[in-house]
Subunit: 373 residues, 2 copies
């Protein structure tokens, strides 16, 4: 068997991610590979760090990009900070909260799980109670923007509560970064991770991470080594550090970092607040069109993510067949439901480069036709 | 501060990796991103699997690409297969053997370390003795091609020894895959990992991995869950599996996999044996030129990697200054010494796309001029 070069059919990506990647980012991605210790590359890494500090709204010195997808960013936070003797309050209102529980348990630590209904935000009351019931909890972990349901939780309030109880916060910002308001320093987030392939509209495979000085202190006071060598940030720091000589830890994903750099340059050009406003404005347009078709949202208006619209599959519509029509006839990808919402919901992403007039117009027109409305 | 788009100066990469990336691979990398569950993408993944089976010379059903660099490939093998109660014989003759020891110890397992001098291959005699002394050893782990020294070890003989003692083998093939003879099935390797950025000449960030049926059996008989969620191959399998529906584990690095696919298509076009022969032929040319300049190799001719030439820095030559001249005046990168060889050796890579007449000619001419020969 002889296998030929692969030429993907261009698609419009309006699922839960990867999102549409801008041509500028693809161009940057394809630039010539240089060495991971080349002075030019090291200079670019310093810029990536500054740009990520802007995107996260933080002055955290430890702000880097993990050389692997968002799930590795999640694991980076847990494996470095959480020790077997620690208790972690974990809020679960979708798939990614469940994954946090997996992370805690695999480390041999104790997870106190707070459940909320899928499609609902994390309950501030339940977290208040849990922090009172577990004064020994070292961490509060929650998902800011649940990619599996489209619900936005009140990160600012949750972090303030954790601080009152002297618990560190671990926040999943995979789908929120660049799409909705997020202020790491002002809100007092201690460890945060995101993904390249959502509202930054970069290619998948990279995970921005930032640790507060309090988190770094916890890391430096560990009893033993971090269980994972690859994700050990005490080692990674000496590669990303701005001071002195960079020491080799692993070979950085050079070209993917070119792409992340370009996507962050674009975010800086647009302005963070403008990017948040653009996602909201495009969401309003999509919502108006969907409402006209009688399509309903899973999440209450007050907690709805503009960049991830989870909607009830209309009665009589065949989930897979409709998504197949969109993909085959319109080269348009929307997302299936995940976990408890499989077969019941669609997830329509308006992330980054997909939060544009032309994408919303295409999505509405194609859905209308496929549903025979 | 406003940060602009990054435009790297094109370099010729002749260090220990990343290696020169062919324009075909960069083109593939920059193709439009599609969804990680798109039928076209899933079809491409099946092809990547077949192409990796060819490159590894294996029929192993579990042959995949880990969504992270080679060090994560290493960790994938150890974290899935080695349990805390296991004893692992680890051969150390350079940096990457030391990293294997780190992996074993961080898992809470026992490492029996066999040391050989840097620049020497793993000693078959010492391994024979260690297997006799430790009949309870579950694994033999070693580096096929030590990237830090340029030494090639006799993987075939080492694997045969391990089999006699019923130990599973974990083999680092980061620098060997595609550059020198490697036959996973014929030699009976149980777990092997490589990197995208060496002799495959793909961009860094991806790690090909293959597990034998015996390794899969060990994995399936674990006492508890794999400590890492991200690297848990019992979960990853259901995404890479050819049977039935792909289930979501994490978002695959879509574009990096386009690039890996293209690099493997090129390997298939050339033919594996021809690629091995090309690396050897270019090594002979480089060796002839270096010898004329009076430059000596660190590794004995019998154990020398053609694709990674570790040479003694000539007396009187300033390590950093010479490498700086090559980089600044010729846009040519060669590697510094690592670990015990820092300041004493240079590492000249002839990997993948860099194993060409023009690269060897440039390297020799630039070195000659920089050294004032």
């Amino acid at each position: 068997m002889t296998i030929s070069s692969f030429h993907p059919t261009p698609r419009t990506l309006m699922g839960p991610g990867p999102s549409d990647v801008s041509p500028r980012v693809l161009q940057a991605l394809g630039r010539p590979t240089i060495g991971h210790l080349d002075p030019e590359f090291v200079g670019m890494m310093d810029e990536v760090k500054s740009l990520l500090q802007y995107a996260f709204q933080t002055k955290n010195e430890f702000t880097i990009a993990v050389s692997a997808p968002g799930s590795a960013g999640m694991e980076t936070c847990f494996v470095n900070l959480v020790e077997p003797q620690d208790k972690v309050i974990v809020c679960v209102n979708g798939v990614f909260g469940m994954r946090m529980v997996e992370n805690v348990e695999r480390l041999g630590a104790t997870a106190v799980v707070i459940n909320d209904k899928w499609g609902h935000p994390v309950s501030v009351d339940k977290v208040t109670q849990a922090l009172q019931d577990h004064p020994d909890a070292k961490f509060l972990a929650f998902v800011h923007a649940e990619t599996s349901t489209g619900a936005l939780s009140d990160a600012k309030t949750l972090c303030a509560l954790a601080q009152e109880h002297d618990a560190l916060t671990i926040v999943d910002a995979v789908t929120s970064l660049g799409g909705v308001e997020l202020r790491v320093d002002e809100w007092g987030i201690d460890a945060i991770y995101s993904g390249s392939q959502k509202c930054l509209s970069c290619v998948p495979g990279i995970s921005p991470v930032s640790f507060s000085p309090r988190a770094i202190e916890k890391l430096s006071q560990r009893d033993g080594k971090v269980p994972s060598w690859f994700l050990d940030q005490t080692l990674v720091m000496s590669y990303w550090s701005g001071q002195g000589k960079r020491s080799y830890h692993h070979t950085a994903p050079v070209n993917s970092l070119y792409a992340l750099h370009e996507s962050l340059v674009m975010l800086q050009e647009e302005g963070l607040e403008n990017a948040w406003a653009r996602h909201q404005a495009q969401h309003e347009k999509l919502k108006a069109g969907l409402t006209q078709m009688g399509i309903e949202f899973i999440v209450d208006a007050a907690h709805r993510l503009p960049q991830l619209n989870t909607v009830v599959i209309p009665e009589g519509a065949d989930d897979a067949a409709i998504r197949g029509t969109l993909l085959n006839d319109y080269n348009l990808e929307i997302g299936a439901g995940l976990g408890a919402l499989a077969g019941k919901a669609w997830r329509i992403g308006l992330m980054g480069y997909a939060a544009r007039n032309e994408s919303v117009a295409l999505c509405l027109a194609a859905l209308k036709s496929a549903l025979g409305k």
